[in-house]
């Protein structure tokens, strides 16, 4: 398995040989920042294209076909269209908060995105409380959505924002509990460590029953966390036209749109990281030949394959299931997912204490 750490260390030594340590680190931060944003945009474009094609397949359609081969340039054209559109200011809106809101949402999304370990040595933010940081960073997005709804001076937006406030804060709990279950199993909160511990089998296999329960809870709660169907109440288009971003136009709307898709990717890639081994290839202890073949596939391919598989799973659910009602969403969370999650945490503790895991 290729370690990107060798490459990054080499770049660091080369830079320090020609300039001071501080300047080198500053330069590296700038480069990484640019690369991160670039990757963010590329992921967003891939996700939007995938969404269109996948939903078309579920709906007996073809999706975009005209622009570029298989319509592949369509999304890039749409991005340019979005960039050229006017950003409309709404009368009687709170201008400062109204303009700030999309940036808070995108900021939270980028910070959470930086936590994802893509391959060995390809981690941007990786420290001993990485899970905690991820949870904290991704939660900031709620503030942006609430601000957007509040400052738009629109009744639809306000209802959408209130819904998302109630929904996202509730489901944060279940996401946290299911990640905590895995933290109990691994006794580390560092994402790179969590991946390394899965070298002899992914946690969904190693942790067996409690891990599978946590995985399912995570998928449901994660889906609700990013406001995707069947939990897309904050922007339920048949009820609230577009929910909290009804009044936004141009690239301000585009930022919400992009953040939503990348958040879906982030949720999926975290699920892939903590349950399905992240970039760690499929290893079966004892089968050395098989493991060697699996190791030949680069880590980032493993990672993206797993992440996009879960994205596909969530898209499948979105396009098939009808939407829940607000009281049903909260009932599902507080009466079912949270108690099950707590019990599951207890079960995991028992499994770990008595060494019942593989």
């Amino acid at each position: 398995m290729f370690d990107f750490g060798i490459l990054t260390n080499w770049i660091h030594t080369q830079l320090t040989s020609v300039m001071s340590e501080g300047l080198a680190i500053f330069l590296e931060c700038v480069i990484i920042g640019v690369l991160l944003l670039l990757l963010y945009v590329i992921i967003a474009i891939i996700m939007i294209y995938m969404e269109r094609k996948v939903c078309a397949a579920f709906q007996c359609r073809l999706g975009p076909t005209r622009v570029g081969p298989w319509g592949s340039v369509q999304v890039i054209c749409d991005v340019f269209k979005m960039l050229t559109k006017e950003i409309i200011t709404i009368r009687h809106s709170d201008k400062f908060l109204y303009n700030l809101a999309p940036y808070i949402v995108i900021l939270a999304s980028v910070m959470a995105f930086a936590c994802i370990p893509i391959s060995r040595g390809l981690e941007i933010l990786d420290f001993n409380v990485g899970v905690l940081f991820f949870m904290a960073a991704s939660s900031i997005g709620i503030v942006g959505i609430l601000l957007a709804g509040w400052s738009s001076n629109s009744k639809y937006s306000l209802i959408g924002a209130m819904r998302s406030g109630a929904q996202m804060i509730s489901y944060e709990l279940s996401v946290g509990l299911s990640i905590l279950t895995i933290v109990v199993l691994t006794d580390t909160m560092q994402f790179s460590e969590i991946v390394m511990r899965q070298a002899d089998g992914w946690f969904i296999f190693k942790g067996h029953i409690p891990a599978v329960i946590a995985f399912v809870i995570y998928l449901i709660a994660g889906n609700a966390e990013v406001n995707r169907g069947p939990f897309d109440l904050p922007e339920a288009e048949s009820e609230l036209t577009a929910g909290y971003h009804t009044e936004y136009s141009g690239m301000h709307f585009g930022l919400f749109y992009v953040a939503e898709f990348v958040n879906l990717f982030i949720i999926s890639s975290i699920a892939a990281t903590i349950f399905l081994g992240g970039w760690m290839p499929l290893h079966i202890p004892g089968l050395d030949g098989f493991n060697a073949v699996m190791d030949a596939i680069p880590g980032f391919i493993w990672f993206f394959a797993k992440a996009f598989f879960i994205v596909w799973l969530l898209m499948w659910i979105k396009w098939t299931f009808p939407r829940l009602r607000i009281d049903q969403i909260l009932t599902l969370e507080w009466k079912y997912l949270v108690p099950i999650g707590l019990l599951n945490l207890l079960l995991m503790v028992i499994v770990v204490v008595f060494k019942l895991h593989f």
């Binding site: 007996c60 009744k155 169907g229 109440l233 939407r323």
Partner: protein
């Protein structure tokens, strides 16, 4: 209509001042002073279904209304007419407390004729703007009164009502619709879930609905007024543009009504073709119902499944009629063109194709836990309310009211084919959804029984190019895609109708939305609206 002899005696005993007039179907003419008493007596006798309420300008006799009543227990029908000769200040007693469906119908009559209904709680204009001058369906209406208005329409927040005082005069009172502190949100006129330009002003408390005020008329084209200046064959074109998912049935109703007035019997081949076409149209409409309901609820996959299957129906219809949405197929005394040579083969293929597809809808949507949670128990319409509002069609049958015109007053071939009338008792959204699913199956059965036996004969009877009907009034109803579609025709012996009223299938459905959506959530309003299955151009006419 049925049993008139028996009823004549009973009415004479109840109200000696009622006069039987024999022209056309015939009706009882009742003086205004004794109308309210007679209406109450009839309501107590079991005439609980107000089929149609038609405002009418009788010239010298004044402005009045025609009430079509039905006793749902015995199936008896009765027609009452009453008029106030004082044209400037026409007042009729309101019957909204006897039949809830009269509420919107009386507002419509007020809107078009300026008849003041004493005791009506909310006599605002219904289709026209609040600042409209004059009453357009009066025969002495001056067209130049209302030039094109470029001003925005204000919101009338005070509901006027006329109340009788003890000395026999009446006073105008105004009541606020909403309190100052209420959180009122507009759903519509441009909203994805209202299926057209309908507007609900919804008062909310959090997510819970406190009151709904329906605003209609955004697509009002004055079709009934237009018809009065058209010859009979010219009026046919409008019917397709009422409920565009029931184009066949609507036109069938108008043709049947004119044929009844002419005394024309159409050949059996025409009856067969009309019946099959009506049922194909019903399948088309119900498939679109499923598709749109699922889309409203967020299940976007099923939306396309509905459209995929509907496409097959439209292909069959298109081959014969040339139209996909606007069919323009029925004519007075027949149909526009004979069926296409491949029609029988294609229709049979479609029946074979459609039956297994119904299972697919069941698998993907009916059994879905979220769909069931959303639909079961929400928006319950009781049987009494369904009858009182006149909410016919799938909505009424879901509430346990066997209201199918095909069974109540069989027309065309419906008396001779074997099919079940689907009824449920729950009256909730899920029952309304299930009725439609099951009805597709029944429609397929009907078509299957007829398709092989279409007899030879002419597809168009000999009809004079200029049609003049004798004086009189007629009412004909068919089972439209979403309820009883009725045509009330009053003729004065001319080549165009004196008054032509279409009993909208959607208006009663929308009138009950305030009752059943109260204390529900916003999301429930969308499910209720979707399952009530109204089509807005049919409400506005």
């Amino acid at each position: 209509m049925d049993n008139t002899i028996d009823i004549k005696d009973r009415i004479a005993a109840m109200e000696p001042s009622a006069v039987w007039s024999d022209a056309g179907d015939g009706m009882f003419r009742v003086p205004v002073s004794s109308f309210r008493g007679l209406a109450e007596k009839l309501h107590n006798e079991g005439f609980d279904f107000l089929r149609s309420l038609t405002g009418i300008d009788w010239g010298e006799d004044g402005l009045g209304c025609v009430y079509h009543l039905e006793n749902t227990a015995t199936g008896e029908n009765i027609v009452l007419g009453t008029a106030d000769p004082d044209r400037e200040n026409a007042c009729l007693p309101s019957v909204h407390d006897l039949w809830k469906g009269a509420n919107f119908n009386e507002r419509e009559a007020y809107d078009f004729f300026g008849i003041k209904f004493i005791g009506h709680p909310d006599l605002r204009r219904f289709f026209l703007r609040d600042d409209w001058k004059g009453y357009p369906l009066r025969k002495d209406y001056d067209m130049s009164l209302n030039p094109l208005n470029m001003e925005n329409e204000g919101n009338e927040d005070m509901a006027p009502s006329y109340e009788m005082t003890s000395d026999g005069s009446y006073i105008l009172k105004r009541h606020p619709l909403f309190d100052d502190q209420e959180y009122v949100i507009n759903i519509g006129p441009q909203h994805p879930a209202t299926h057209g330009v309908l507007r609900f002003r919804v008062s909310l408390e959090g997510e819970t609905i406190k009151k709904i005020d329906v605003h209609s008329g955004y697509i009002h084209r004055g079709i009934e007024k237009l018809c009065e200046s058209c010859t009979y064959p010219q009026t046919l074109g409008f019917t397709d543009r009422l409920d565009y998912l029931g184009a066949m049935q609507n036109r069938h109703a108008l043709c049947a009504c004119i044929e009844k007035a002419m005394g024309l019997e159409v050949s059996e081949r025409i009856q067969y073709i009309r019946t099959i076409m009506d049922e194909l149209q019903r399948i088309d409409s119900h498939l679109l119902f499923i598709a749109c309901l699922c889309q409203d609820m967020g299940a976007l996959e099923v939306f396309f499944l509905g459209f995929r299957d509907r496409e097959k129906v439209l292909d069959i219809l298109e081959q014969t009629t040339g139209g996909r949405l606007i069919q323009t197929y029925n004519t007075i005394g027949g149909v526009q063109a004979d069926i296409h040579p491949e029609f029988v083969k294609k229709t049979k293929e479609f029946i074979r194709y459609m039956r297994p597809k119904l299972k697919e809808y069941d698998d993907i949507f009916t059994g879905n836990i979220i769909a069931r949670n959303r639909l079961i128990g929400t928006g319950v319409l009781s049987r009494e309310d369904a009858i009182s509002f006149g909410a016919t069609g799938g909505t009424g049958r879901a509430s346990g009211w066997a209201c199918d015109v095909r069974k109540r007053h069989p027309y065309a071939m419906y008396g001779k084919v074997d099919f079940k009338e689907i009824t449920f008792t729950e009256g909730d959204c899920f029952a309304r959804y299930m009725v439609r699913i099951k009805e597709i199956e029944q429609s397929l059965n009907i078509i299957e029984q007829l398709i092989d036996n279409i007899p030879d004969g002419e597809y168009q009877m000999k009809v004079k190019p200029v049609i003049k009907l004798p004086a009189g009034s007629w009412y004909t109803a068919v089972e439209g895609s979403r309820g009883e579609f009725g045509v009330f025709l009053e003729s004065r012996g001319d080549k165009s109708p004196y008054r032509l009223k279409f009993r909208s299938t959607g208006l009663p459905l929308v009138s009950c939305i305030d009752t059943i959506a109260r204390d529900a959530k916003i999301a429930d309003l969308i499910a209720i609206g979707g399952t009530l299955d109204y089509v807005v151009p049919d409400i506005d006419r």
